[in-house]
Amino acid sequence: MRYLLLLLTLLLTSCFNEPLYHSQSYVFGTLVDISIYGESDEHARFLANHILDDFQKLHHQLHAWKPVSQNQLSELGQLNAAFQQANSPTPISPALAAMLEDATELSIKSNGLFNPAIGHLISTWGFQRDEFTAIAVDEAAVKNLLHAQPRMTDIVIKDNAAYSTNPTVKLDLGGYAKGYALDIAVAYLRKEHVKNALINIGGNIIALGKHGDSPWRVGVQHPRQPTAITTLALADGWAVGTSGDYQRYFMLNGKRYCHIIDPRTGYPVEHTQSVTVLVPPQPLNQSQAGVLSDVASKPIFIETPENRSKAAQALGIENFMVIDDKARIFVSKNMVNKLNWLTPNVQFTTLP
Amino acid sequence: MKNTHIQTTVDDHRIAKLAAFAILLHMVEAVIPSPLPGVKPGIANIVTLYVLYQYGFATAAWVSILRVFASSLLLGQFLSPTFILSLSGAVVSLAALWLAMHLPKRYFGPVSLSILAAFGHIAGQLLLVRFWLIPHAGVAYLIPVFASAALFFGLINGLITAKLLYNKR
């Protein structure tokens, strides 16, 4: 009897004191959530702070519109300024060069639907501001930018310097940087021999190991309700990312203008509410899982309904879910068994 | 008019006497304020359990049901929610007792029966509350409290019954 009680108390205390460290901070203009399992609190705090410092540095390096200080632009800001004068090479760091090469490759694969070169278009719509308000867009400006066709392939990188053959190229790595940061964090944690962690940068999530005996569980936000619609298990090295029309948008005359702009029309996408992609670990010499989870949801979000599967395949994505403007749910064949709906009788269409 | 005289048996008298005693305990408990509304020791169940062992299930059932009816009449709660709650508790508790008395006697004594009956009692009451009186999820919160009380008082009542039964022999 005594042993039974002892066992019970042990069981109970282990339930309440699991070795889970959790921190939340605002970096990257968004909420960064770091969970580390199985390390001492002190060590976990050290690791988390290191990751947050790295994120802060990345943020300064890659911010598309905010200067680091009054007189100094971010590295990306300086490059964008140089791009306006065509054919004037500007030195860039090897890290940024690698990022741009990777982003260019992904842009080509996605047939230009992922296009980080359309920074001018995004700022025309007013989304390159922390606090944006509803605006009536300058239609002529959109038309001009569309005609100028800024593309990633306009950028030439040579001898640690870059220039653009098209002065209307303006880089906005908003759909790339968070994923890149995830990969950096995971690489750092693996180097430090951390077995179990979950990192969430503004909704883009990557997993390392497990949460105790069970895998890390991630809830996918409902695009119109303050609750999760489904949950999924995130295995070691897997990443999940969602693009939604509810993340950054403004309403004008009852119409929703979201931050995801179709590079082919220059206008915000209207036929999709959200796209979620689930990405397995990638081979080392390719775009990593974090980057892919950030990038790959955009082309699927933008592409016309009948071509969504093609857009996914182009980037090697097998697991994805789409919720369209009429709240209809589409789930890729491979993804179906990975989802646990939180309400009964969810109707969805299976995509190839 | 013909004067009818109801024939009473020895059994009837015994049931009446024991029920009277149970009613007394029930009333005493009704007067003592409880720290938590709805949580009561249920000492009248000692009588039910004692009767079950001494005179069998039928007598115990009579005593229990009579006690519920008579006490509510005396307290002016007849057909009120309190009465219905009391009745549903008694019925499910009797059902639990009937099942439990078929357990092997060598291993399961009054303490087992008392605990199981107490759980049956709150189960009956909570089911009624959930489906009739307050049909929303709010009561779920109270179930663990009621269950702990049932376990505790079931144990105490069972120990007292066992003492009464075996010390007499």
């Binding site: 609750t227 | 399961f108 087992s112 999820a137 120990l159």
Partner: protein, 137 residues
């Protein structure tokens, strides 16, 4: 009549347990486990019990959802008002221009969250039965 030593003798553990049979112990332990299980599932169930308010990277406060209250939090931009009532919580006023946090409406289940990025305030409903570790949004 008041033979105190005799009554005290009744409290002797051996005397108390002398009529407790092996099956009785089993029932008692099963009952205990049952009660523990009920506490674990029903007192930490899906219906959240608490709301955690975070300001920046610090936990600002944790409140029970069963008590009605209005919380004023001074964020990066200014005062936000959070209302807690009847097991739910929401942003009712915020100085941010987008007002996404206010449009999130009432949160009522464990794991639900409302985040105000510009003002750096977040609400999260807590509960052991939280169905996931992180929210993908």
């Amino acid at each position: 009549m008041f033979n105190l030593p005799r009554y005290l003798k009744l409290l002797n553990p051996k005397l108390i347990t002398q009529h407790v049979l092996s099956g009785d112990w089993l029932v008692l332990i099963a009952g205990l486990l049952c009660v523990l299980y009920l506490f674990q599932t029903l007192w930490s169930g899906e219906h959240a019990a608490k709301v955690q308010i975070r300001l920046g990277d610090k936990i600002y406060a944790t409140y029970s959802l069963n008590q009605q209250r209005e919380v004023h939090v001074h964020g990066k931009l200014g005062d936000a008002v959070i209302v807690i009532a009847q097991g739910k919580a929401r942003f009712s006023k915020s100085p941010c221009t987008t007002q996404y946090c206010v449009h999130q409406g009432w949160l009522s289940h464990a794991g639900q969250a409302a985040i105000c990025l510009p003002n750096q305030i977040s609400l999260e409903l807590m509960g052991d039965a939280k169905p996931y570790d992180a929210l993908n949004y």
